[in-house]
């Protein structure tokens, strides 16, 4: 695989994202930034639109990488561009502009969902309590529940003892569930 951006290959970017490397994420962000900005400028948009859509597209790709659902049939740049274009057309339609998808634009990307997650009432409540936790707790729970990392991996990444991570994790969950249960009665 060729080095695509900042000396990173596609695989390195994907692995970097899995390992929380900020540099890998930045490489992904820069992959098609310039071309996509030009594209948006030529298609009824401005730089602010382009930024917003590109960031949402990177979030989509990031999510797929974390969930191990990214299946590449071409380069990462092509994939990201396809996501960007999809989102851009979706946004244009949302603004009431009738646009036709160009014929060459046929990269099949299913289930792209960048709309803010719809939360149930219970989840909104839980989110409120989650926001009250300290940054360390939030990070730890996100690594564990969203990124599905094992305790050993988290311990390794944070240079901590696995027992300490386990204790910290259960302390955070306990704190959160205590607040949450109180609300539920």
């Amino acid at each position: 695989m060729k080095a695509s951006e900042g000396g990173y290959t596609d695989i390195e970017i994907i692995e970097g994202i899995k390992n929380n490397e900020s540099r890998a994420l930045e490489c992904l962000y820069r992959l098609n930034r310039e071309s996509f900005f030009n594209y948006v400028r030529l298609n009824s948009g401005n730089d602010d639109d382009a930024k917003d859509v590109l960031q949402d597209a990177v979030i989509v790709v990031h999510e797929k990488v974390i969930e191990n659902k990214l299946v590449l049939t071409s380069s990462l740049k092509t994939y990201l561009t396809a996501v960007c274009n999809n989102l851009w057309y979706k946004k244009l339609r949302g603004m009431g502009k009738e646009v036709a998808m160009p014929e060459y634009f046929n990269y099949a990307i299913e289930d792209i969902d960048t709309d803010n997650e719809e939360m149930s009432e219970r989840e909104s409540k839980l989110m409120q309590y989650f926001d009250r936790l300290g940054e360390k707790c939030k990070e730890l729970l996100t690594e564990r529940f969203w990124k599905n990392k094992k305790m050993a991996e988290i311990a390794d990444e944070t240079d901590k003892n696995i027992q300490a991570v386990k204790m910290e994790s259960s302390r955070c969950i306990e704190k959160l569930s205590r607040m949450y249960q109180k609300t539920l009665g």
Partner: protein
């Protein structure tokens, strides 16, 4: 929260299980143990949604930061580095500011207290005759020191003493006038060093008669207790000592302390002024 099934549950909810794992876990989910912990299953599923949204929000913030960095680069400006140093620097500056604020507050407080004290002392100009009598009687020079503030400086007295372990002086100044009854200010100092300065802080402008009550005790010989009264009345002028229920007059002309007996009419007048 049992971690052995929590990890599996996370994988189950996020759809990261293989079909085989999914079947096996679904079967286990039906078990009694699991049913007893249903709320936890729901909680984990909700927590996953919440952490996912948190992660997205954080990611968006990171990407916005990248965008700002790129824009700066495009304009040829150096992006500000947010390293440990800058954080350390912020803490240091913050700490210094807080410290300075506290010191400034303390300074202002002290200034105000000092100004108030000086205001009290305005007008406290003890008659020379009183100072002289006081010094002779108690061998403690009563002098004016520092910014014109009157006080006792006991330094010389202390130096003369052979042994000094504890030196305690109780001083109070009573105002007179028509009523000679209220104690306006009272100080008590314990002293074990080389110098002790006591300030008399207040004087009633109508005062014509002063009373000092001084108790000075050391481990050796210095011990005086009594009342020193200065009367500035036409019929009674001078410094009197009231000690052991008797009045004495201090002869201000003598070089050493001479206590002269006081006549009955004088005693009557003194009692009139001091007991009124």
């Amino acid at each position: 929260m049992k971690s052995e099934w929590v990890d599996q549950l996370v994988r189950y909810v996020s759809g990261r299980m293989t079909d085989e794992e999914r079947r096996s876990f679904s079967f286990w989910m039906q078990s009694e143990q699991m049913r007893a912990e249903q709320w936890q299953v729901k909680f984990i599923a909700e927590l996953m949604t919440v952490t996912k949204i948190f992660s997205k929000r954080k990611l968006k913030t990171d990407l916005q930061a990248f965008e700002r960095k790129i824009e700066l680069e495009e304009r040829g400006e150096e992006p500000k580095k947010k390293g440990r140093f800058s954080r350390w620097w912020k803490w240091l500056v913050g700490g210094i500011l807080i410290l300075l604020t506290l010191l400034f507050g303390l300074f202002i407080f002290q200034e105000r207290m000092e100004r108030q004290r000086l205001r009290w002392m305005q007008g406290l100009d003890l008659p020379p005759m009183l100072k002289d009598g006081f010094t002779r009687l108690f061998k403690i020079p009563l002098i004016e020191i520092r910014d014109g503030r009157p006080g006792f400086v006991l330094q010389d007295t202390i130096k003369e003493m052979a042994v000094l372990e504890v030196f305690q002086v109780d001083v109070y100044l009573q105002g007179s006038g028509r009523k000679f009854s209220h104690s306006e200010q009272y100080h008590s100092y314990k002293y074990t060093g080389e110098e002790l300065t006591l300030y008399l802080v207040e004087r009633d402008s109508a005062v014509q008669l002063y009373r000092f009550n001084v108790k000075a005790q050391t481990s050796e010989s210095f011990s005086k207790e009594g009342e020193l009264i200065m009367v500035d009345k036409p019929a009674l002028q001078g410094i009197y000592l009231f000690m052991k229920n008797d009045f004495y007059k201090i002869d201000s002309r003598a070089t050493d302390t001479i206590l002269s007996p006081v006549s009955d009419p004088e005693i009557a007048l003194l009692k009139y002024y001091t007991e009124k």
